[in-house]
Assembly symmetry: D2
Homo-oligomer: 301 residues x 4
């Protein structure tokens, strides 16, 4: 009988928990603000009042919260997960944070005799809902093997990248690469439209040419239709890219383009665009040049 | 009966001319250095000693040379193409240059009563060989319609982007976007490997994640296998990105990431990497950090 | 008897011409738009209707116009200066343009048997008025010796930097360095004020510390007092920095910071700040963060 | 009778302690590695075995250590300064660290009833030796007044910038501004020399022109004479600029140039130049272009 806990019921965590439910016998849920816990309790799941309680009630602990400070608070503070752990349990921490914080929390988890996997995900809210996330995992292979069925309920691609922190490193590299590509999308679309090209046609040609990227095909249609509903916000993207740049700092790797991406996203945040979708990273440049990359079609893609 | 000329028999032009041959009755060829002309004459084509002569012998004139100065020299100097043009001919200039130079040459061509299309291509030497190039065209739609069969012999996707210069604008935007993505590829791969990740596995995960781009899937395998044979050289990429940044300058569009990409590629050129494939843009950073992103597999992809 | 011509009576040229008058027997003046010529004719100087005429009437030709295209037009077009030159004359071209254009114009001047000096100036409109400009000169030392008395009427420091183009190279390097320092001024002042520091006190401490620069002591007081009257405009600074970056491009020197400075100034121009003083380069960042670096004192410096 | 402690006897702290001695009756000294303490004990000062002991023996506590982690360790760990504090004492923390760490340590100090001033210095090892440092202070004005005589023994300019953290904010802004100017120095000198200018003459003209900065007059002569002995190392400069960029991150201020400066300095560190003087920031670019900015004079300045 598999008893699991899922902690952190945000835009990502809520649908992940619902998928995880299908692969366990009992699912305990916990969230910092109680409302979301109540929502799942109403659906028949078991609520826990603290991280420690969730850990005590479960054998496997999954968590997904916003940033490093949240992970530290969830695990290390009084009433936190570590307090409730016992030998043989498996912790699978799925937030997007830095490898160093993972290693710090892992040490505390392992001191209780439990296993620790860092397991950030890629694929956005739609991937979370549809159970098609990519999951990048660092930690012990045997522990990973034990929770593979549960991971497969949430994700399609399960990658074992190396020891604790390797999942996070992979995720942060991915986030930084995507943010740099997005700079190209922004400057390219604005430049092309200023040069007189039709925005829709420009997008279509670029999306099949050598300059194409997931950032282009992900952001392009939303920019054209002026849809900046998140999905993934600029504030969250800033956190991720900032963590990537800090990881590079700690490792002594110069990242001029990563650093630039961080500052351009910071400009969007200064302009109070932080709660919009990260496609809105086009808006600071649009405001500077005084026009928008907007579809001329009645029903843009 | 269709008589066409193809001028500029370089790495791109030579296979393009061979494909064009299948869609015309007579093909006249010309190249600045005579050796390559002779090679095609030996295959049964007609050689011309100058641009003007090529234009006189043909109804349609196609050209593909390295940069703006080459296009100006080919068309505007004594003995150049413009000198040999007559009313009703169509010029299709396929080099990757800036819209302003196209407009300058177009004015001279049109003064002779001929039509002018700017038609840069995307798809590299393999696309040129296989006739699967993307062709981005600016100029008169009726003129384009007349040479569509010939374009289809060289390319798979024919895009009409707008008036003269619109093809070039599209191509330069694409080149700048790709170069910016390549910055992300370089910094991401180096950072990930420094963080302890396996290079091959990192590449595989990234290539299916949100940070992916054609720059990643194009350069990644070559970086892993340390194959920097061109294809497309750093010097040519520098020319293209530099033209894009200059177009942005003329249009008043700030391009911080495009400008950074230009300078990073310039660093590679300063380090005498200009004649290598543009995947070698990873090498300046590799030299700074003192290690390479090299596959550990016996037979890398 | 010394007969000189001064061509280009703009914000810099007008006061330079008035100072030059004191060191010559006859001064011929010419300007593209006739109004300014008329103004000096009313003061007793001799007007000329074209560059060629000015050259014919004078032994020494001084000129100061905005950019490379203006210099080319002034010298090389029909009716231009070159047309009016004869053996033994000295041309002293004082515009801030690139070395390559100087060398092109110098070749045409020398073909007439005249000498060519490139001699850009530093010191702004106040230096022009007070005759205290720095003048950076490229060209033949003997020619320079012949016009030294006239240069000393306009400037305090006369530097002979090398052959034709060396004056321009020095000036462009200076302009690029100053623009990069100005990025530091902008980001430093905005960051300090956001951190809660008093703007005036911050400026005073910084201006005597290791981060100080002429950009700080030049722009700081104007930023604090919100005085963006030119002086030297953002548009002119953009031209200069852009020429410096292009010179670096031609010489194969990567300039990541110079390129960034160019793009940040371009952002100011996109925001329609181009006609303001170059201290207004602070305004794009101020607009992004939503506050101003403004003195709290009743009578700011 | 004034009893003071000075903790941290590095390149800066050692001469600062020697100057402080002249303004106190008793000076207790402490250093992490005991050798340097012994050196001053041999000169007649009193050694302390821990931060707590130093605090117990003194009324005023001065400290100057490398970075935030060192400050935290010195004050907050068992045996640290805070453990030895009592009501009414004054702590003057002179390291260059971030405002947030100062506020964290200040809270612990104030909980003991003592006062806390953050007081980073500017002026380098020569300013430390000669007692001519600039000292930028945050904290209570009354506490500052009480230790002014001691500060004046170490520094010439004493600036009260605001509450705790204001000294650090000022210092970090200064460091970031200087590092950005240094980018201009590096690119400008390399570009000018590549353009064919004489390095010494270029330096002399620039140092009196509008692009000049303390970074230029500080680094220029050392670059020309190839003297990269620290003084202030690249590693320390990286720490400072990195802290400034992190402060900007926390405050939501985009700093594209500050971020670029950080990455360029990181490149120098990756190339193992970290222990050289920060004038060596020119070396990565010199290596890329393949030549040095080296004086041609027999006895460079």
């Amino acid at each position: 009988m598999v008893r699991a806990a899922f902690i952190g019921l945000g835009l990502m965590g809520m649908p992940m928990a619902r998928n995880l439910r299908r692969a366990v016998d009992t699912l305990i849920v916990h969230n910092r603000s109680a409302g979301r816990t109540a929502q799942l309790v109403a659906e028949g799941l078991t609520g826990a009042g603290s991280g420690a309680e969730a850990a005590r009630l479960a054998d496997l602990v999954f968590s997904c919260v916003p940033g490093p400070a949240d992970v530290r608070a969830l695990y290390l503070r009084p009433g936190g997960v570590v307090e409730g752990l016992r030998t043989g349990q498996i912790v699978c921490e799925m937030s997007t944070i830095d490898p160093a914080t993972h290693r710090e929390v892992a040490a505390a988890v392992q001191a209780q005799g439990a296993h620790y996997l860092d397991a950030p995900v890629s694929g956005g809210t739609s991937g979370a809902r549809e159970g098609t996330l990519s999951i990048m995992i660092g930690g012990d292979a045997a522990a990973l093997a034990r929770i593979r069925p549960q991971l497969q309920a949430m994700g399609k691609n399960i990658y074992h990248m190396g020891p604790v922190g390797a999942g996070a490193a992979t995720k942060l590299v991915n986030q930084m690469m995507g943010a740099i590509c997005a700079l190209g999308v922004v400057e390219g679309l604005v430049l092309g439209v200023r040069a007189g090209l039709d925005p829709d046609q420009l997008y279509e040609v670029l999306s099949t040419s050598s300059g194409a990227s997931r950032a282009l095909t992900g952001h392009g249609p939303n920019i054209l239709s002026r849809n900046f509903e998140p999905g993934f916000t600029i504030d969250l993207q800033y956190k991720d890219v900032s963590l990537a740049v800090q990881m590079a700092r700690d490792l002594g790797v110069p990242t001029v383009a990563g650093g630039l991406a961080e500052q351009v996203i910071q400009t969007a945040r200064a302009l109070r665009l932080g709660s919009r979708s990260n496609a809105a990273v086009v808006q600071p440049l649009e405001r500077a040049v005084g026009f928008e990359v907007r579809s001329k079609r009645p029903n843009p893609r």
